[in-house]
Symmetry: C2
Subunit: 208 residues, 2 copies
């Protein structure tokens, strides 16, 4: 993977001839195809056909399928939870699960489509984490730190290190077990039943 920075910057120059609207449209089409077919079966031919581009153009501007998918992942913004700060840790976590649950179908499908290939492709794995895992993780870590500062949770509670694993896990596990995505109500119930009790926080809106 040497020389990629140079190639990428050359490509960026070439790509700059495309309008931002056209670029966004192309990335959307790539993500759509990715969700439909999975990374391994996605071909440049299919991308060219769907986006009405020539394959030569795609190769010239993005280099490889991997680079194009990574650019599309980086471009996409699956959800925006950055502004969440309700004043309590329970409230923050609840608002995060609500918003995450809204995009659960699309996000889970995208993760499922690239997870296996990402095992063998480090660039793809890093882009997946950068785009789909890290932003949510950082917002979550900040909310947990605020909760610890306010004394709502013991900073030594070992569950603090697993909140992101537990919530991402619920998102990934549900469609394998049941014929449904982990939507907002499911994630909220999981939060109340598993995550908040493990953090020794009380659910604010206990269910009957």
């Amino acid at each position: 993977m040497t020389g990629q920075a140079g190639e990428a910057s050359t490509r960026r120059t070439a790509r700059s001839k495309i309008t931002p609207e056209r670029e966004a449209e192309l990335y959307e089409a790539v993500l759509e195809l990715l969700r439909e077919r999975g990374y391994e079966a996605l071909t440049m031919d299919a991308i060219a056909a769907r986006t009405r581009s020539s394959k030569a153009t795609l190769y010239r501007q993005w280099g490889t399928k991997g680079q194009l998918v990574i650019a599309a992942l980086r471009h996409g913004k699956p959800f925006d939870i950055e502004d969440i700060d309700t004043g309590t840790l329970g409230g923050d976590l609840r608002e995060m699960t609500r918003r995450t649950g809204k995009a659960a179908g699309e996000d889970t499908e995208l993760l499922q489509a690239i997870t296996h290939a990402a095992r063998q492709d480090e660039d793809l794995r890093l882009a997946m984490r950068e785009m789909l895992i890290r932003p949510e993780n950082e917002v979550l870590e900040r909310a947990l730190a605020r909760g610890a500062e306010r004394g709502e949770v013991d900073p030594g509670n070992p569950a603090l290190g697993y909140v992101v694993h537990a919530l991402l896990g619920a998102l990934l596990a549900r469609p394998l077990i049941e014929d449904d995505y982990a939507d907002g109500p499911y994630l909220e119930h999981f939060l109340d039943s598993v995550v908040l009790p493990a953090l020794l926080l009380r659910p604010e809106n206990p269910r009957p």
Copy 2:
């Protein structure tokens, strides 16, 4: 999908000419290729080459790639946790995570390889659940029921309905967040930090 039962029984007759050893070897090769390439990019050509079979034989005996992969999944036994009964719920869950963790790499890879395709292919999805999800789930449900009978856990605790989601979730989530599978020690720590506290069971071997 009509007429499949009849076709399957015809194929079973044809398949019976293969020795069980050869059949087991072929299924192992299919699972190996599946883990390497993912379901969508797996081709009958590749299976024929790896197993030194003719494509005509594969199609005659299994019908489709999906049928062959399902047969291989049904044949494989990823782990054996059926006999676990330590006398306490905490002990049972700990022993399950230990054994599950041993095969975490192979099992996770197999799940990752078929999860996306299983969304669109009902037969594959049912075979995946039958082979890779349901056996573990049933053993877990029996252990939870014994724990409730012994009074170790409140039968009304809502976390009881999420133990399988939480543990399967940890298995799926860890390799996305970190460069590692959810091995035995990881799953045990997740159990002690998240699952047992949510069940209001005390960890038997608390960590420092």
